[in-house]
């Protein structure tokens, strides 16, 4: 038993878990056979069994049953279910369209039903079910209330409200000005820009995967992996001092994790050139600055010329420019995560003189 627990603790350490999730995500998305009733049921049973069995572990139980964490467990099930449910419908529609039939929704668009009773009764039932669920939940689980607020005694760990834990998790890899300000703004801007960037006229008003595979892959990668998965990590796997703790590990406040992260400038000047860091910040950071500029300014045209030729042509220059910068910003997060895990890289550009660290 202990061996299995240790294995799971090991597998859920950030670098490994994240890699597993990414691989699973892209493989699963393209595998038609997974999106059926049978596989869905098996997956559901497997996850439920996992939770039930793990419940016997006191450390697991403690984190999962914290009152504020209960909804997050519920959310994981809901999001898993709806991801499966929408992809199942999408793939079924794809099959239909491959056979030359219209999507399933089409069969029902020409027929009109009365608002009363068809819609109103559905709403009434939904309202009743929702009320009952909420009432039962409210009766069973008391809202948490801790010690009165004290500005001098900080709890360890101090966590933001759960829906922002993805951003707090990002703080491990980026400074607050990026993780807390720039990235959230870009997420909002990106969502708002989405209808104007995505010019694919297909797949409007019905579930489909094949007709919008690229858009769906990108959006779901952002939503499921970079948002929901990061929240899950921040909630369940981060303990005192924001250290990583496996699901069956005791949250020991004295756990020591060696920190020996190095800046890009040190890699270049100290390790490769062997000269020591220059005094002047521009000279010191020039390579990092060049790398970042290249990433955002040189990479997009290169991609447009080489691999994304057709997309670039279809979208036009303006749409392509906005879209690619948003996408590159999104991908910057996993890139930085891997650089940290593989090279212990701290900052690509580090100019603490101006609070400007990337």
């Amino acid at each position: 038993m202990q061996f299995v627990k240790d294995l799971f603790n090991f597998l859920s350490s950030p670098a490994i878990f994240f890699t597993l999730v990414i691989v699973l995500f892209f493989v699963a998305l393209r595998t038609r056979r997974l999106w059926t009733d049978r596989v869905g049921t098996v997956a559901l049973v497997a996850v439920v069994v996992y939770f039930v069995v793990s419940f016997f572990d006191p450390n697991f139980k403690k984190v999962v049953t914290a009152p504020d964490n209960v909804p997050i467990v519920g959310m994981l099930f809901l999001i898993g279910f709806f991801a499966w449910f929408s992809l199942k419908q999408a793939y079924e529609n794809d099959d239909r369209m491959a056979r030359g039939e219209p999507p399933a929704e089409k069969l029902e668009t020409d027929e009109k039903v009365w608002c009363w009773p068809d819609l109103v009764y559905t709403e009434l039932i939904a309202l009743l079910v929702a009320s009952i669920v909420l009432l039962v939940w409210a009766i069973l689980i008391e809202a948490p209330l801790e010690e009165p607020a004290s500005i001098t005694v900080a709890p360890n760990p101090s966590k933001a409200p759960w829906y922002f834990l993805g951003l707090q998790e990002m703080l491990v890899y980026f400074d607050p000005w990026l993780a807390g300000v720039v990235f959230p703004s870009l997420i909002i801007l990106g969502l708002m820009a989405l209808p104007y960037i995505d010019t694919n006229p297909k797949g409007n008003g019905y579930y489909t995967f094949r007709e919008r595979a690229r858009e769906i892959a990108l959006f779901l990668f952002g939503f499921l992996v970079l948002w929901v998965f990061m929240i899950m990590t921040g909630t369940f796997l981060r303990g005192p001092n924001w250290n990583f703790f496996g699901p069956y590990e005791y949250w020991d406040p004295h756990k020591l994790v060696p920190l020996n992260n190095i800046n890009f400038s040190e890699f270049i000047w100290v390790r490769w050139l062997g000269t020591g860091l220059p005094q002047q910040w521009l000279a010191r950071e020039i390579f990092g600055i060049l790398v970042v500029l290249a990433y955002f300014l040189a990479l997009p045209p290169l991609l447009a010329r080489r691999w994304l030729n057709d997309i670039h042509r279809k979208m036009g220059a303006a749409r392509y420019a906005v879209g690619i910068v948003l996408i590159l910003s999104m991908i910057a997060l996993p890139i930085k995560m891997y650089l940290r895990w593989i090279f212990n890289l701290k900052y690509i550009i580090a100019i603490p003189e101006f609070f400007f660290n990337i």
């Binding site: 939940w137 009165p148 807390g180």
Partner: protein, 282 residues
Amino acid sequence: MPNVREWLNSLKQKFAPKEGQPPVPKRVRDYIGGSQIWRSFLRHGLPKTDRIRALVVLSNVLLHLHPVKIRRSGVKLRYTWCMGGLTFFLFLVETVTGLLLMFYYRPTLEYAYVDIVELREQVPLGVMRELHRWGAHAMVITVWLHMFRVFMTGSYKPPREFNWNVGVVLLVLTLLLSFTGYLLPWDQLAIWAITVGTNMARATPLLGHEGPGSQLLALGDVKLIHAGSDARFALLGGRFVGAGALLRFYVLHCVGIPLVAATLMAIHFWRVRKDGGISGPL
């Protein structure tokens, strides 16, 4: 004993349908349905004919949100997952329970925590705080799922781009509502979550005193952006999460954001109609 039975029998005879008369339930219904009170509230009979079905929806303020007839695909659970509607329902729950909580809760350092304790200990059968807190969590989840559904059906594509944008703002407002509410119980959980959250504002580019570029905003040697004038200070009404922050968050939480959100929801629903109802394949 026989008396009671006799009396019941007499009652039965009295109300037994006479020749050519409709049965009792129908007579009661007709009586109530025909009364002036009933007809002033609901201007039609039971929805038995198509004409009345249309009238029900057209003559009722709440129901007129809906069109009289809808494409079948639009009412399918498996299409919309009901998530937009559930989000709206939860918003209403939050408004009602939040209003009730306002009766008990005072947003000052002296009272905030005590009031919550009192609420827990003194109010019989009190689940209002639970309903409000879990409803808030649920609303955040349903609004995400709603966005997820709208994305998966491609319903942000023309002509619904604008409504998607209204939705994104609603999403942000929902998170802000939940964030501002989180501070109000004024316990350790609350104050430190908000401290962690608002610490980010310190690092706002240009406008935070630890943000890149904030040094540029200076007049000669005088810094314009410092701990007492930056974005975080504006948010908290102070240098740390204290009385000023509590009051600000309370006002925003109970009045400011709900008003804006309710207005945007009205626009959101109106747009759904104007964009041709729930999306479907062309």
